[in-house]
Amino acid sequence: MTIVNHNEKIDTVNVVIDGIEMEVPKGTLVIRAAEQIGIEIPRFCDHPLLTPVAACRACLIEIDGVPKPQPACAQVLSEGMNVRTQRSSEMARIAQEGVMEFLLVNHPLDCPVCDKGGECPLQNQAMTVGRPDSRFEGEKRTFPKPINVNAEILLDRERCVSCARCTRFAEEIAGDASLELLERGAQQQVGTANDEPFDSYFSGNVVQICPVGALTSASYRFRSRPFDLVSVPTTCEHCASGCSLRTDYRRGTVTRRLAWDDPEVNEDWSCDKGRFAFAYLANGRIESPLIRENGELRSASWPEAMHFAAAGLAAAGTSAVLVGGRATVEDAYAYSKFARIVLGTDNLDFRARASSTEEAEFLAAHVAGRKLDVTYTDIETASQVLLIGFEPEDESPILFLRLRKGVKRGVSVHTVGPLYSLGSEKLSAHWVKAKAGSEAHAISGLDSEIVGALDSNSIIFVGERAAASPGALSAVSRLGSQTGARIAWVPRRAGERGALDAGAIAGLLPGGRPISDPTARSEVAQAWNIDADSLPNVGLTGTELVTAIKQGSTSALVIAGVDPSDLPNGDELIAGIENADFVVALENHHSEITQRASVVFPVAVVTEKSGSFMNWEGRSKPFSAAFREALTLTDAGVLSMLASAMNVQLNGDTRALRKELNSLVPWSGPRTDVNNHEVHAPAGTTLATWRLLIDSGVMQEGEPHLAATARPSVVAVSAAMFEQLGKPEVITVTGPKGSITLPTQVAEVSNESVWLPMNSPESHIYAQLGCGYGQAVTVKGGAA
């Protein structure tokens, strides 16, 4: 038989489970089919995203004509199969009960002190299919407890039921195969070779999928009972992967976060940053508005601060709005409107990082307003994938996992860049070596074989770092139109993609509408209920905007979520802010900006507001407030109050903003092409750098165990350069501002580049070196 699904014919088989007739796709496992009709077969080792092992034997069922009970988690249904689960088979019921009794033999049953108690598959299934009491009277096996498998993950071996979920996750999904089952018999245990840490960006997932309390996290262990927690679905605010998470809290404090099943996006997984980096939400928050009086910041009431800010902005000259890459779509949209309507300026940017005019052109031409052009699912069936200026494992970990899935299914990956990383290795990627900053050359010089194989089923992933490599984005644009390969831009931060579509960048109105286009202007003016002529003309972005602030040609600033140390010219920004007439900062934590602002408004963090993030696919990922009773205002809320203090009506309601933005359907009018930009890679050695997933980022503060899992700060050089430098143990890299000395790591690096982490302990590129990706540095063996 066949059934037709999405116009695709699927072969099916007819089977009977507990007397219920079913037609299921060929290859369906008994356990999955039973789930579909609401029959829950007990299981421990089974996990829908891992290959079956049939090890725990909890799921034994009877098949007519088969003498022995069979594991439902590994049994593929075939035509005419008649399956009886514990519901209709005494053989299955007794077999399951027997296995359950065995599982408890060496299990400590210390539920009252176990983190899993209350949400434990072992507890639950022992209650449903187990015997009422145990016949085992012997001595249980014990282990010294607990041991660390890495700094964040602890293991109580005596609780382990040897289901091998954690080890299969490590090998199959993360590709970090160092977690293994060791020893044999009842002594079998999870561990790592030579007690080296389980080095993985995804280690927290093993805690979540462990069906008992054997794996726990240092951050949650002994903190709470699951039944005391309130769980809410949320969207991760850390990166542009857009993971669905679950936030658990108790009495107003987040106790943990877990991956939420989202088959289209993160499946069942999350990275460790998304899972563990949330202490910042509560720590060190700005509590009330602050205004500057006699050079000092002091607390002020909201009305006082509003009037102060309104007056200051009204009095100042040309203004600008800088919103960092972390705003929700709705907040970014509010900034976009506030700049154009209230401040009458198009000086606006969300890219609080290295950026370029070329990038702005690229985003306008290929990204803004284009939703779901390329999706996670597309990766699995892509013919080829090209990574340019993009390190998925560090910069979009869930995209990395999906790439791994694709690679397992035969997708080939090419990575263009100066370093063949551990992540590239785990993707079995082919390396197109490029000196940092000269990616454009590498792209135009791509092997004809690779180019020839690129088609509309190929995907070019380009990272935000490409903006720092002159000519790279125009080369990507050309390669795309030449081959038909689809282009996907993957920024790092959760808010960037949404801010782009919300028009929080000079030159682009919402939905990718060019501000210079009369039709675009009138569409937006209509939605905003203003006169199209009152919309400003194209303003400044990026570096030029910061320079304008520094030079004082832009003298008033509304700034939110920007950390100057993220900018190559952060010093200029700070100097500009110091000289500016008036600076309004919207922030939840103090920063170099708030210390210099004229007025500071505290704003809500993700747990206190609803909103949405748009991930790299252009997929909207809405979330609602975890703490509904929170009194903090969203950025949009503050901007709305500020507008009204300046006598402009601006709706600050999240839902209303979302609705209005959605009504501005993506721009279908003409787009400007990316200009051909000149390629000018500096001579000599260039700097290769990016942010490691776990690093010194401010949103990771307050979670020392997570920080301890970070990859070490090193200088990576090629074997040839290592040789040339005299095989030094440490290497000093020097830029215009100063030097960084770190331990040497010999790696697959272009001979013309040197790699250091961008913002890790003892390696803060902009602050210490004063230059960025692709720029010239000098390299020397030994200390400075």
């Binding site: 079956p52 092992v53 049939a54 090890a55 725990c56 034997r57 909890a58 034994l60 003498p67 022995k68 009970p69 590994a74 077999a95 027997g98 296995v99 009794e101 065995f102 599982l103 033999v105 060496n106 016949r135 085992f136 012997g138 001595e139 096996r141 039921v161 040897s162 293994e180 089952l181 060791l182 020893e183 044999r184 018999g185 009842a186 002594q187 079998q188």
Partner: protein, 433 residues
Amino acid sequence: MKLTPVITEHWDDPELYTLDGYKSHGGYEALAKALTSDPDSIIATVKDSGLRGRGGAGFPTGLKWSFVPQNDGKPHYLVVNADESEPGACKDIPIMMANPHALLEGVIISSFAIRANHAFIYIRGEVPAAIRKVAFAVKQAREAGLIGKNIQGSGFDLEVTVHAGAGAYICGEETALLDSLEGYRGQPRLKPPFPAVAGLYASPTVINNVETIANIPYIIDRGVDWFRQFGTEKSPGFKVFAVSGHVQRPGIYEAPLGITMRELLDFAGGMRPGAELKFWLPGGSSVPMLTADHLDLPLTYEAMVEAGSMLGTGTPMIFDQTVSVVKAVTRWLEFYKHESCGKCTPCREGTYWITGVLEKFEHGNGTTGEMETLTTLCGQIAGRSFCALGDAAATPYPAAIKYFSDEFTAATHTSADEQFDPVASYVFSGVRA
């Protein structure tokens, strides 16, 4: 019935282990014959011979070979299971020590038949003497052009690798063996896919026991009819029986399948003086025990199953009246507990639990309730474990209780050593510690 030395025929020749020694008795003539015939006809011959695997399960060898997909473009492998670790089994190691070239000739013919260009011999690591003998035979065969490129001008290439195990009984289970051979921790693999389709390095692989493969040259040389004159319809051929225990002359006796235990016992000189047979196991600790009542049954795959046991490895262990069944069963379970690989719950936890309870009985501290518990625990393992090791572990107790429940009842108050003087069961019982 008479003994029929075939594999063991020239074991009195101290030079048999060398290439010249083996050749002087007609060795490698079968190979010459095989290399000029069609591989499929060899498979057919082996199928027709009815040869059944000697590793324990008795699976028809020719049928197994015929499962290997041909012309699939993948490399094929032959893997010889020489991990012999079954308690009581001692036949493969003697074969490798005394007549390694019979194995090797079988390896070359079998590889030729299944179109394998690489064969592996996975030998139990604890017997370096056997490993050395086989490695030496491989070396001599290679030097003589019997292994390598274009063997004897036939155009057939074969590499043979001798691999030493690292001391785990489970690595005798064929899929665990493959994992071990690939460098992983030896644990059984989920089937399907079966090794014949995706075995070593995910390629079609045949795994056979040493004795099975050592049969091949003789079958090819002497023919199906010759082979089938021995044994029965369902158990054709002869078998290298290794008799151990309380007999006068423990050792290797090669005889047709269908010989009775009583006859074998006679060849082994009968029980030791003054002793009386108490129980015996036809083939290793993994098969249920039998008693004197079963001595006249033919030792065939089918008759042993009918009697509630199995032929297993065909290496009978004989125990006389000095042996405590409680103690014997406890030792076996301690073995299975120690060797359980840990992968599946019933075997991992069941052997742990059962062994603890049996040790109580051994010390006279069991309870009648626990006798019942042991029975149900074995039932909770048998047929539910991942591989046959679990089934094997669930075998000794139910068989023992069938014939000797009194001893377990006695062990609720009297320890095994009080019931049976352990020294009396020593082979050299005259010698006191």
